[in-house]
């Protein structure tokens, strides 16, 4: 990376007291102009990272750099960072125009300039003509846009978004996902987006950081993370998946239960214990004879796009199957899958080791 990263975290820790550690040794670098997502369950520390970047809190240890400059002790009001808050935090005593103009008035810009910038920002978020509305008169989606306009009008280097879509209903949420992504590309700014919704993260991001209990478990593009989760936690958190324990018999051979299957992984120790992920959509329903695995259908739900089957093999492992084909509840069926569908996860592997291993497979084995 030749360019200075816009944000760099160096061994950052955060704890409130001896017992409650929020972040343990966080390290990462962010490039300018990308859409980043911090993804994780509540309490994983993702909002803490956001608040550290915004300047609402200071790290307990380690350093945070902004454009190469140490900003640990720069107060929030002096940082070129603006936040879109989870509850929008719009000032109820000010109308739409004044909310957006707030930062500019603090900077003491001229009247004319403020007028122009605010109207432009409102136009940017499709709220032209709403200048004089009171916040109470705006719908959830509109408030969301005001909050975004209030952030972008200050021309910050980074825009932080703290679960900004969580208060919206499903339909509006997916609409706003498109809009936010498009907005980020038009502005060319760095966006850091916090969410606990994996679908949202997969749909919008250039890069995702999956967090758990104050640690970054894995980072990478949405495709990387979905296809090659590093461990049980990530696999489970990103989409529905079948995670079972297994053994690496040799290169390209794994054993699940009593059976051996072909896979694409190599370079592990022989007979090493591993976790195995197979995504429900990678399992195909077939006859018992043709299938690689024999399972019994326990329940079946119609999900619109597909059927969701819960099935059990002889060892009692549950296998979730997403299929466009129907099956009979209580019947035995066969499950078929490609060798590429098997994702092998070593236990306690660090992200570095994980990346090295995947690289060693070469492009051909990892093409799909």
């Amino acid at each position: 990376m030749s360019e200075t990263p816009i944000i760099r975290f160096e061994n950052v820790t955060k704890y409130y007291d001896a017992e409650t550690t929020v972040l343990t040794d966080i390290n990462f670098e962010l490039e300018r102009g990308k859409f980043y997502t911090l993804l994780g369950p509540s309490g994983c520390g993702k909002t803490t990272i956001l608040r550290l970047i915004a300047g609402f809190m200071q790290p307990s240890g380690g350093n945070i750099y902004f454009n190469g400059k140490l900003i640990n002790n720069v107060p929030a009001n002096e940082r070129q960072v603006n936040t879109v808050f989870q509850d929008y935090a719009l000032f109820p005593h000010l109308n739409v125009f004044e909310n957006v103009a707030f930062g500019l008035r603090i900077k003491k810009l001229g009247k004319q300039e403020i007028q122009e910038k605010v109207l432009e920002a409102l136009k940017f978020v499709n709220l032209s003509g709403y200048e004089n509305r009171e916040i109470a008169e705006m719908s959830g989606g509109q408030r969301q846009r005001v909050a975004i306009a209030r952030a972008i009008v200050n021309d910050p280097e980074i825009i932080l978004l703290d679960e900004p879509l969580s208060a919206l209903d499903l339909k509006l949420r997916s609409e706003m996902q498109y809009e936010l992504r498009e907005l980020q590309q038009r502005l060319g700014k760095t966006f850091i987006f916090v969410t606990h919704d994996q679908e949202e993260a997969l749909a919008m991001s250039d890069e995702i950081f999956v967090l758990n209990a104050g640690n970054i478990e894995q980072s990478g593009t949405p495709m990387d993370i979905y296809d090659e989760p590093i461990n049980r936690f990530v696999a489970d958190f990103i989409g529905e998946s079948n995670i079972v324990s297994g053994t690496m018999v040799a290169d390209f051979r794994v054993r699940i239960g009593g059976k051996e299957f072909e896979c694409v992984d190599q370079g592990l120790n022989p007979n090493e214990n591993i976790d195995i992920v197979i995504r429900p959509e990678d399992l195909e329903i077939t006859t018992v004879e043709k299938g690689k695995m024999k399972v019994k259908v326990d329940t079946q739900l119609f999900r619109g796009v597909h059927y969701e089957l819960s099935t059990y093999d002889d060892e009692g492992n549950e296998w979730l199957v997403h299929s466009t084909k129907k099956a009979e509840v209580g019947a035995f069926i066969g499950l078929d899958f490609d060798p590429e569908a098997i994702h092998v996860m070593r236990l306690n592997e660090t992200e570095e080791e994980f990346d090295k291993r995947l690289e060693s497979y070469g492009e051909d084995a990892y093409a799909n």
Partner: protein, 267 residues
């Protein structure tokens, strides 16, 4: 439903009649040319004229209003900063004990407040009169202001303060541009409550006032002890109108704020 609502209406009507009858009774006889509160002889403005020609009474009226306005203003300023201090107090147990201390004067009986303030003023040598009355009124109004402002502050989402800082506001600007405007309805409510407390106070003033200084309540008390004078009736007519105006003003200020603080009542 219709049956119960009829008895309900009668009951409520009776309550309202009883509540308002004495006040209307007073005002009615303020127009009586006879000297007593029975036997209405004929209509007259003479008692009102008597109020306005009695310079001593007018002086007392002015004193009362000055004490009320000044004490409410000062109590509001101290109370607002006090409540901001309480809300942003990080230590929970200190915050709770501050709150309990704050409420002591609200629940204390007037007589005890009056007696203890009398001791206090005598000890530190404050001359009983305007100063002691003003200070006492400020003192018992502060907790009321705090109680009116505190809910507004608690209602304010802390992310609003983060947002203001995020947009570049300094601490002073946050206070001026975000916190104060947000709690404004609470501040006004507190000011009005303090005003009415002061105007209505009798017991505390009675204890801490000296010979040369009197407020309306104390004056009415001594007049009433001496017997019936229709000047008091005329006074009550005037006070009633002023109170109604104040209430209407308070009501509108409350309506303007989106979330009414809730009507307060004096103790």
């Amino acid at each position: 439903m219709a049956r119960t609502s009829n008895t309900a209406k009668i009951y409520l009507a009776l309550i309202f009649i009883i509540l308002y009858a004495p006040i209307l009774y007073l005002i009615f006889y303020s127009f009586n040319s006879g000297g007593s509160m029975n036997n209405f002889e004929s209509f007259t403005w003479e008692h009102y004229a008597a109020v306005f020609s009695d310079t001593r009474l007018i002086m007392i009226l002015i004193n009362t209003v000055i004490v009320a306005l000044l004490s409410a203003l000062i109590a509001t300023i101290i109370g607002v900063f006090g409540s901001i201090g309480i809300v942003y107090m990080r230590n929970k147990s200190i915050r709770n004990s501050l709150l309990s201390l704050n409420n002591v004067l609200i629940v204390s009986p007037d007589v005890v407040i009056g007696a203890s303030f009398l001791i206090l003023f005598t000890m530190i040598g404050v001359k009983l009169g305007f100063a002691s009355v003003l200070i006492s009124h400020i003192a018992f109004s502060i907790p009321i202001v705090v109680l009116m402002v505190l809910p507004k502050l608690q209602e304010m989402n802390s992310s609003l303060i983060d947002a203001a800082a995020d947009l570049g506001a300094t601490k002073g600007e946050i206070l001026r541009r975000v916190i104060i405007p947000f709690i404004k309805p609470g501040i006004f409510a507190g000011f009005f409550m303090a005003l009415t407390y002061s105007l209505d106070d009798f017991a505390v003033t009675f204890f801490v006032t000296g010979n040369g200084f009197s407020t309306l309540s104390v004056e009415i008390y001594s007049m009433a002890r001496a017997g019936i004078t229709l000047t008091i009736n005329a006074l009550s007519g005037i006070i009633f109108i002023v109170t109604i105006l104040l209430v209407v003003g308070y009501y509108f200020i409350n309506q303007r704020g989106k979330n009414p603080v809730g009507m307060g009542v004096r103790k």
